[in-house]
Each structure stands twice: as C-alpha cells, then as structure tokens.
Symmetry: C2
Subunit: 228 residues, 2 copies
C-alpha cells in the first residue's frame, strides 16, 4: 500500500513532540533521578458495527515501528563506529518494505482539549478517524490504565462504542492536513480472535485486549462461541 | 509505603535513557519527518501460583506516573510563564502522595541480551523480580504486539508461567544495586477480575488483559466462574 523511501535518520536535538525532562527526588531518603517525557493522556475506542457484525479498526504507517524493523534489518556497523553519527540511505542498501511499519490499532486520540470530556474526545476521534457519528451516551467505559510507565506514565481510558451502518456519515481517515493517513479496516466478529492472535498481523495490545473483552462480556448478546 | 520529597524538575538536554531521533522519509512521494526514540523490545509474564491460586504481580514507584499526577495537581502557572523553565519544590507546595505514582504491573524486562532467547530473558526476570525459578519449558507465549506505536514502536511479547511454592527460591525485588525497588504482590484468583477493573488501583493494560486472558483460557482447568 505505502511507498516509503529516502530514509534518513538524524539525532534530534530539539523536538516539538519529544521533550525529555529530568526529575530529581528523594525516595525514602535516597537521592534519585529519572528521565521522563510529558505527554497527554489518551482515549481509545473499540468500535463494533452491529449491522455487519464487524469491529472497526484503523491501520496506519507508524514511523517508529518501521524504524524498529529498519534497525533490525540493517547491516551491523563496526563496533568502534559512533552510534550517534548521522546515518544515510547508502548505509542501508536494502530497507524493509513499508508494510513492516503498518499497524492495526483501535481508534484513539490524545486528551488535549481541556474543555471536552473523555467521552466527547472519543466521540470526535470516532468521527474523524472512522466516519461514524455516535452520541456520547452510546460510549461505555471498558477500563483505564497507565501506559508507558517507564517514560510517560500517562493514563489511557478505553471505551466501547456500538455503531450501525446508519451512523456512518463519512469515510474517516483522520486529518490529512495534519499528515494523518489512516485507513479504516473491518474485522468480522467471527474472525476476530484468529486476527487477535495472528503474529503476522502487527497490532497494539489494545486490539487484542478489547477483542477478548468483547468475547467475554458481549458474546452472549451476539450469540457467538467464546471458544477463544 | 514510599516517601517521596525534594522534587525538582529540570529540562533534560542529554539523557542516557531517552534519545530522540528524527527520521526524514518520503511516503508515497510526500516528504515527511517523525521524531522517535530507540528502545529495546521487551517481555512480560503473567505468573500464576498453582499452590495458592494467586497471580504474582510487581508493584513499584514509577517516577513518570508520579510526575503525571504531580503535573495535574500543581497550581496553574500564569499563561505567560515559560513552560520549559526550571521548576522547584517551592512552586508546588502540596505535592500528591507517593502512592499516586505506584503501579501494579506484570513482571517484565527489556530484551537487551542478544545471546538469550525471549523465554530465557523472561525466566531471568521471574527470578530477579519475583523470586521464582521456573524452567523455560514452562513458559507459554500469550501474544506479541507493538507498544508505544507513536514513539518507540517496540515489540513486546507476553508469556504465561505457572509456578508453585516449590519454585520459590528467593524474595525477588529486582536489582536494588540498579535502583530497583520492587515489591512482589499476590492477587488471589477469585479477586482478580475485581482487581483488574478497580479504577482505584493503578495498573498497566497488561495486567487487565492477562487476567481476562486467563479467565477465558485457563478457567476451566482451575474450575472458576468466568462471570467477569
């Protein structure tokens, strides 16, 4: 699907997105310090379409995921090479295919609008990314938890939203003007547990967790086997 | 449990742990760039003690989580203040209790020893953090997935390990010489789903996912209700 080329990696001395801070503190009298990053909390949504009995996921190219694969596939530099030195495409003659950086994820977004509730932010993301217009009253909280406990420690809240074909008012796809290139993907309920545990399909833990949550909690309603 | 004080936050211009990089690339002919961080892949382990029918978790103070709470609780600075300026304890007269930075997590560790398999790394973490000596053959893979898709994109593999009191050879607790202060916690099976969904108990998604996985996959063996 995607074509990725002209890859060039440079150290990033000043980023608008990644801003490391250091906290110095005393824990039980012992002086310590820890490097962390500030980030926003986030929401994610398991969307189930009751017309087609499909889950609605998003699929996108993730540069950070791609760079992990790029890193693993590149020829090893000599041991005395400077690991922070600039790298250029010539140093990596055979980069992995773009598909290795594409992941399946729940519809999700940052909590960066203080005037909106978590449910309202989730509702906006469902509309923008997946094209479904659902009232906030249809959102049910599944769980909240900490993500990136070593680096950001931010809180994520996961919701469940039932939609129908009648709620579909657009194509979704995110905000192309902000560089988002999101593809909406349907996963049929009957195939969902195979999808969740298929190691060949790169995905987030949120996808696996929410699918198994649905099978444990919603399956009686939709009369499916819980043989997962 | 923990006493945290003398908190001081400073911008972190050079970190041994957080090293932002920038990748410049072309996606379908359009030039883009993305800031990311390199990190190791990781493993996590759901440990179930068959003698006491308890899950074995770890509990530790996470500075990044604490700083999220600290941030939310501090008095708002005037809008024209420099957000990157150094902060000192005087600016925050009433910091949140240390307990707000403590999280419950699966036993976990980084994949930073190329000579060891994922199972061998998981086995070492079980021993170091929780004090159980289990053969790698007792480890069963639950799933693998991408974590931090926006920033690190690293891969995490989750295992399931059954242990018994006979496997317990030490107290665990991590590597205090490396600053780890880990407390081993037992969660009884019968209480585990209430624990998972209790919003008052800060935890990672891995804890919730793995508990619900156990209830879906292992509960017939342990004759418990799956009413979750």
């Amino acid at each position: 699907m995607e074509q990725i080329n002209n890859i060039q990696v440079v150290p990033c001395t000043s980023s608008n997105y990644l801003k490391p801070f250091r906290v110095n503190y005393s824990q039980n009298g012992t002086k310590k310090s820890w490097d962390f990053m500030r980030t926003h909390d986030s929401v994610s949504v398991l969307i189930f379409n009751t017309s087609s009995h499909c889950f609605i996921l998003v699929k996108q190219f993730r540069p950070a995921v791609y760079m992990c694969e790029w890193e693993k596939s590149k020829p090893q530099p000599p041991e005395d090479a400077d690991p922070d030195s600039e790298e250029n495409p010539e140093s990596h003659p055979d980069p992995p295919p773009a598909s290795s950086g594409v992941t399946y994820e729940l519809c999700a977004g940052l909590v960066d609008k203080p005037e909106l509730s978590l449910e309202e932010i989730a509702r906006q993301e469902i509309l923008e990314e997946c094209g479904y217009d659902v009232p906030v009253t249809k959102l049910r909280k599944i769980a909240s938890y900490r993500s990136g406990v070593g680096v950001t420690g931010s809180k994520q809240t996961m919701f469940y939203a039932e939609v129908s074909d009648e709620n579909c008012v657009g194509e979704g796809g995110g905000r192309p003007q902000e560089g988002e290139l999101i593809e909406v993907v349907k996963v049929p309920l009957q195939e969902s547990m195979n999808f969740a545990y298929d190691e060949g399909i790169p995905k987030t833990m949120g996808v696996i967790f929410s699918f198994i949550w649905f099978h444990s909690n919603m399956s009686p309603k939709y009369k499916i086997s819980t043989n997962v």
